[in-house]
Each structure stands twice: as C-alpha cells, then as structure tokens.
Symmetry: C2
Subunit: 252 residues, 2 copies
C-alpha cells in the first residue's frame, strides 16, 4: 500500500487522492482546536470555506445551539463567539452540546478540499491525538477500505510548515509500523519519506519545532504563546475526529 | 538574512524571490549532468524550456559546435546527441569546447523560471558540488549582494523529491554556518528548516536516499542504476556553475 504525505495543500494532482484514506493536519491551530472542542463535548464542528458560510450556517440553527469560531490571518473575527485558540475550547461549559461553525485561514479549507478530492470521510489529526488517528487509519486500511493512505499538511497560505510536517511524519510512521504489523506491505513515496525523516530528526522536540516555525513565531507576537505549549503535547487525547462531508464528529 | 528552501517548484509567491540569491537543485539528474559537462570542458550549457527551443538553438550554431542533450520523462529524445545521464558527459573528447543545448523534464525549466523570478544569476548545484556552491553563495551574500537566499528544488513533475530536498538541506546548512562565521545573523523559514532537518536525518546516506526515492527507483527500472551511485557522491567537484539568463558557465 502506498503511503504519501502532501507537504503543502496544492501539491496533489487531479484524482490523485481519489478513494485514498486521508487525514488533514493543521497543528497551529485548526485541527488541534477541532479535536479539543469535540473532546470538550461539542456535538459537531462544521469546517467552513469562508466567514459568510459560517455565519449562514449558525443563523439557521435554533437559539443558543450554535457557536461561531475561528480566525482570519490568526486574529479574532468580529461577530464570532470564539477564536482559534484551542484553550478557548477547553471549557465544557462553553462548548458542550453546541454545533460549532468554524472558519480558519488554512485548515478548514484544506479539510473541505481533501474531502472533495478523496470522496470519502477524512480524519482530523493534530499532535494531541496522533496515535489514536494512526490506529484508526491502520484498522480501516487493514479492513481493505483503502487503495492508499495520504496525510495532508494544511501549511501556511499555500506553503509548507514545519509543525504540520512534523505531525504528518509521526502519523505516517505510526501507520507504516501498524500496517507492517498486520502483514501489509507498504511503500512510502517521497512526500512521506520527507515527513518521516523530518519527524525522526526532531523526535522529542515538538515544542521547539512549533516555537521556531514561522507561524509559531507569529502566534507568539500576537499573544498566543500558551497555544504552542498545548498544541505540542503528544497524544493527550484518545479521540478520532472524522469529517463526513458535512460535519466533523468523534468516531465511536 | 532569511534563508529559505523552496521544496517544490511551484511553492513561491509572486515577487517572493526578487533580488534573492538563488540556487537550483535537480540531483536526478539535470544539475548533476550540467556540472559534469562543464567540468569536462563544455564551453556552456543552455537550459531550454522545450525540445524545439533546444533544436533551434543548436541549428543556429556552426557545424560541430553544438550538442543536443537531455531527456523527456527520463528517456532519450530522438535526434538528440546525448541523453541526461551525467556519465555520458564525463568524456572530455565528447563535450570539450561544445555548447550544449539542454532540455530535461524538470530541471531546465526550473532554472529558467528561477532566473525570471529572482532577476539575477542563478547557481546550479548538485550533491557533486554542494560545498563549492555554498561557499560561493556565502561570499556573495557576505559582500552584501543579496536580501536573502533561497535554494529551489526542481522536484518531479511539480512534486517534492527526497534527493533534491537532501541536497538543498545540505546547501542551506553550509550557507547558514558560513554566514554565521562571517558574523551575519540568519533565520531559516520553514522550508529551510524542513530541508536542513531532513538532511541531518540522512547524513552519510545519500546513496540510500537516491536509491529509495520515487525517481531513483524509476531510473533503476530504465537502466540507469550507475547514475545513482555517481550523483550521490558529495563534493567530487570544486565547480560553481552559474546561469546568467542566457547560458550556464563555470564561475571563475
């Protein structure tokens, strides 16, 4: 089975992802925040392509059922209830039972486009939940549910980011080991080899990678240093968020 | 000074490379072959955008002065004198004094587009000549000739390749050390950090990286195993090929 990592969101050809088992990464911060919101009891997260779509979706819900969350270029969106810091979504009181309409500059679009490209449910992964998502992908692939596996990095405005590559490399490495243990022969193509190599070179240094990345440095300048500490923690959640084309919920 | 590695040839924005000191990498095989041809005494290499441009350029030269070289999708081009194996360009008898009109699927276009994007001479680098090109870039940058430095990976049909990332990572690491030794403060952006990390993870394993890459595996199937051995050798040449917008010659 072919294993790939798409290092930047534009780097796949037409039909290349069709029927593949795909996961999307946006460590800073969309996929970390989505995972946190669902673990805190949000009933679903709708990844939106723009602010208007998010507002329109929330407006159709009954009073008090929806929350608007996200950011534009890292900053709070006027009229939204919450930003894109995962720490805002830790409070069960705030998010429990709520449907969150969520828009961010890079991650939510990457999730939507990946679903269109592969035509099947998409896994949502961050450093906070790498092992549980990798296990779920191994189980699905071992059950014959995929022609190949791809992990997509959301990156930053079309360019690669170190934090997403680090996470993607850790995921694809765990997937490769899991499939091998199940007797499935795998082959990494170059994107996957690059991600796995980068992850190996930075093992045990997630926080340093996030702190020195372009986006990590930017987040520090706008007051989000604590987010780097939180999003760099490996496997704090046993949670597998899945996007079904409409909304993201935790896989049971 | 900002140091970047462009991991795939499409991953830079408009004007992003303007006035930067740039190098282009295509280890398998264009930049390895260009370097070899010039070391073997070719007077110049013209990187062409297509087969017709190469044929047109050669036709304008006097009898016996030009050679047509290159490949399309890894294979020999009918009517050409030479392919894209660097081993074909080792013979001084074949190439000395000749002007080579050269077209390859990925590398020659990347060289031309990089020149257009930065608007200044472009360095040509392969594993065979990394240290000499890195030194030349350090000297030029230390003399105040650049706003920033970028190494561009030609990749494979728009996608990243491990062999180019390995070489780019080694170049950018040597450049960073050299500039630091000259008292110049540098900062790697994410592409450069990814390349440097990948190179660090694969130190001493160039041949293994080339052999296991998608393009390396393809070249083995079409009979070019020896090229992998040759192109994986570090610093066998003290040679700095530079493209001036017209042709590539060795910098004196």
């Amino acid at each position: 089975m072919e294993l790939d990592v798409i290092i930047a969101p534009t780097l796949y050809g037409e039909d290349e992802l069709r029927d593949r088992l795909c996961a999307v990464v946006d460590v800073l911060r969309a996929t970390s925040t989505i995972t946190t919101a669902l673990v805190s009891g949000a009933s679903a997260v709708h990844p939106c392509l723009d602010i208007e779509e998010a507002k329109g979706g929330a407006a159709k819900m009954g009073d008090g059922q929806a929350l608007l969350g996200g950011e534009e270029r890292g900053k709070f969106i006027p009229g939204f209830d919450l930003g894109n810091s995962p720490l805002e979504y830790l409070s069960r009181e705030t998010v429990e039972g709520k449907v969150i309409f969520f828009y961010t500059s890079n991650g939510t679009g990457a999730i939507r486009r990946t679903y269109e490209a592969c035509g099947r449910p998409v896994y949502i992964v961050a450093l906070n939940n790498i092992s549980s998502v990798a296990s779920a992908m191994v189980s699905a692939a071992s059950a014959g549910k995929a022609e190949g596996i791809a992990v997509l990095c959301s990156g930053r405005y079309g360019k690669p980011s170190t934090e997403d590559l680090l996470c993607a490399g850790m995921v694809i490495d765990r997937v490769a080991v899991g499939l091998r243990d199940n007797g499935i022969i795998t082959q990494m193509v170059d994107g996957a080899s690059i991600a796995a190599g980068f992850a190996a070179a930075n093992e045990g240094h997630s926080f340093e990678v996030l702190s020195s990345s372009v986006h990590g440095r930017y987040l520090k300048t706008i007051g989000y240093s604590d987010d780097l500490e939180y999003t760099s923690r490996l496997d704090i959640y046993d949670a597998v968020p899945v996007f079904d084309g409409q909304r993201i919920v935790l896989s049971s």
